[in-house]
Amino acid sequence: MIHLTINGKQITAPEGATILEAAKQNDIYIPTLCYDEAVEVYGACGLCVVEAEGIPKLLRSCSAKVSEGMVINTESERVVQSRKVAMELLMSAHDGDCVAPCQLNCPAHTDCQGYVGLIANGEYESALKLIKNKIPLPASIGRVCPHPCEKACRRKNVEEPINIAQLKAFAADMDLKANSYLPDIMVRTGKKVAIIGGGPAGLTAAYYLNIMGHSVTVYDMMDKMGGMLRYGIPQYRLPKEVLDQEIALIEKSGVKLVNNVKLGKDFTINSLKENNDAVIVAVGAWQSSSMRTPGEDLEGVYGGIDFLRAVINGNAPVIGDKVVICGGGNTAMDACRTAVRLGAKEVYVVYRRTRNEMPADKLEIDEAEEEGVIYKFLTNPISFNGENGKVTSITLQVMELGEPDASGRRSPVPVEGKTEEIAVDSVILAIGQKLVQGDVSELALNNRGNIEADPDFFTTNIDGVFAIGDATNRGASIAIEAIGEADRCAKAVDAYLNGQPLDTRVPYISKRDEKAIDYSDREIKSRLTPKVLPPDVRNKNFDEVSLGFTEEEAKAEASRCLECGCREYYKCKLLGVAQLYDINPERFQGEMPQKYTRDENAFIERNTAKCILCGLCVRSCREVMDVHAIGLMGRGFKTDVSPAFSLPLDQTNCTNCGLCVSLCPTGALTEKSSLQKQVPLNEDYTEEFVEIDGKRASVLVSRYNGKVLRVIPNDELSRSMQLSREELIEKLT
């Protein structure tokens, strides 16, 4: 036996062992991407380098043998720097999206590609479960979300983005119609968490903390839970019955809901704090913002959310025939369309920029117009005029678009001396909402007048009190933003309750240069949207406008997904190592070595743009299988893995043994799953045995929610039998 020291730990290793082997046997991790016991040592990746005392060069631990008295450091500054640069170089030439842009752009990081793909396969239950990993209210959110995911969807570069939000609503509706999914709850921890506010933020935090085993109670001042989803969004967009069902499921999963209790009246943050281990403040922003325009206090001038809430509560004010809504956001749309439904004859939306700059969802803008709403662009109210304390007209300043500002938007400037006056019966100011500060007097506020909460840990000035959602930091935003915060906050609170540190580092993700992607080979397939009620029908009632996707429509729409995210994301070794070093590959940005292409046969898909040239596939095909279906072609930066003469795999002697796929440390080689449309999923791989010719053969079985997705040969016998995957699956069952 050889005695040596690694990272200060004295160990022994058999003579002839490599440093890597010795380290492994002693649970000392050394990264490597090109080493595997199945094949001969190769030494390409250079990640396994270590520093040995007295040896000037870094040693590749996969090949350097242990020697008596050796003193090794596997994590010295020099070693870390070498690995860091190696990873940066590698990633600078690795052309692939780990995660689809839709998911990255979703504030809650919902796995859009995952559930869209599952829907395409008709796996609605799995799709719903995947959604509920991030969103506990998907039927509601699917209906109301302004879907940042779709803005990032690459399909827009072909024709139009995937209708992701509606697909979410579809999957959630399917679930509500049948055996609704309830999450598994972890062992109860005995810790108590109180959440103030039952809107999307509060409910989401409650849902996930409950799953983690904590006892959660949500306190809300209104009659019912749902917050702005219930009291700020009209029935025709989000039927309350849908919301009720989803909240009922949250309650059923174990969250305690208490309504009609108000912070500052029935309890204080500190009083809750005394009886709970943690408190989350998610009170939202319930006060309409002022425009600071003369006449705002006249009778007949309403705040946007106040107006919507009154209508929802059945106390609709008398708005008359002529109504003006000020603002261009989704609340303005909700207000104008509600006004139409209340019977107003002339409904105007006054907005100081043009249609193109309106922040509201395009579909909403169009649908409102269909329902008879009149837009007055490039106008800005300068006074509300009244008689006897009641508003009678509104004076508008005519605007024009000036120079683009810092954000690139052309800001409106008044046209000197040009005004316009409209006679009105009522005015609705839908220009934003803010926190009711008095409610949270115990907490420190920031200079915007919102609760100051740590962006990563969501902590406030009081220990054990966390804050999220519209009430915090930058103020009111969209529901999915609050849900994302709530999900992360739940993890932060869980870590706090368990006294554990929380890793808030943003993981490194490889992203393709969108400008460089060629879509010319994609077939044009137009975006599908659910059918809607005809305008002249819907503008007279509060029935839901959208009829939702049919199953057929949903599958067809989901099938349009370009599958941007990498299928190997969940088991990518490359990505795993990338997280270990604080890498910034952008500094080495340059040409990509290979074109992004696909070569596939029935089982294996190759994409050399993602290849890191570890050589494991070529070496295992040669050394282990003696098949030689693929080889290294060319040299240097442009070295490529390919069959001879660039033939497709189909035309080689590849036996589909799958060994190359299982050794590939990244997504260059993928084994196709039994799903029609391929989806990146966090599958479980287990070793199982099948009988082949009376002998036991080992296979790797991948399952997702119980469904067998792949069976990959795992020993000499199973690899040499050349059975099709169908035959292997059959043998398994």
Binding site: R622, H628, A629, I630, G631, L632, M633, G634, R635, P643, A644, F645, T652
Partner: protein, 158 residues
């Protein structure tokens, strides 16, 4: 062009080297001498006779700059890219050849007369800039001299 490959020309090479281990590069060199490049059919035959997989043969063939997989022109111009040639403005010679023949590195003129290949140092540094056309070396090139050489070669071919 492809269907005129006479594989029997390889008989001699294969009978001499097919059984000798480590001879792949030598076999490929002889094959290229025969055909001017490495035809796919020849590679398949070599694979059959030596037992070396086509993926390996292509791996070796594409690794070394000597090997070609397309027929080359009557005149293969190998322009030296060595340091001395660089310092003595070989870039101007490359530009001249490009202008005169309308081809870039690795390409062949449409009439099949000239192929251009930029190669590593030819070792005639004292005569830099240098090019080889088939077996002949031309040194101390200037743009005008290069034009003259190309013109003479073209005339000789007619």
């Amino acid at each position: 062009m492809e269907n005129t490959i006479n594989l029997s020309l390889l008989d001699g090479v294969l009978s001499e080297y097919a059984e000798v281990k480590g001879s792949l590069i030598t076999i490929l060199q002889h094959t290229q001498e025969i055909y001017g490049y490495l035809p796919k059919e020849a590679i398949e035959l070599i694979s059959e006779k030596t037992g070396i997989a086509t993926s390996e043969i292509m791996g070796v063939g594409t690794f070394y700059t000597q090997f070609r997989f397309e027929p080359v022109g009557k005149y293969l111009i190998m322009l030296c890219q060595g340091t001395a040639c660089h310092v003595n403005s070989s870039e101007l010679i490359l530009q001249t050849i490009r202008d005169e023949l309308g081809i870039d590195d690795g390409q062949t003129t449409e009439d099949g007369l000239f192929s251009l290949k930029c190669v590593a140092c030819l070792g005639c540094c004292s005569l830099s800039p240098v090019m080889m056309v088939n077996e002949d070396t031309y040194g101390s090139l200037t743009p005008d001299k290069t034009k003259k050489i190309l013109k003479e070669l073209r005339e000789a071919a007619q």
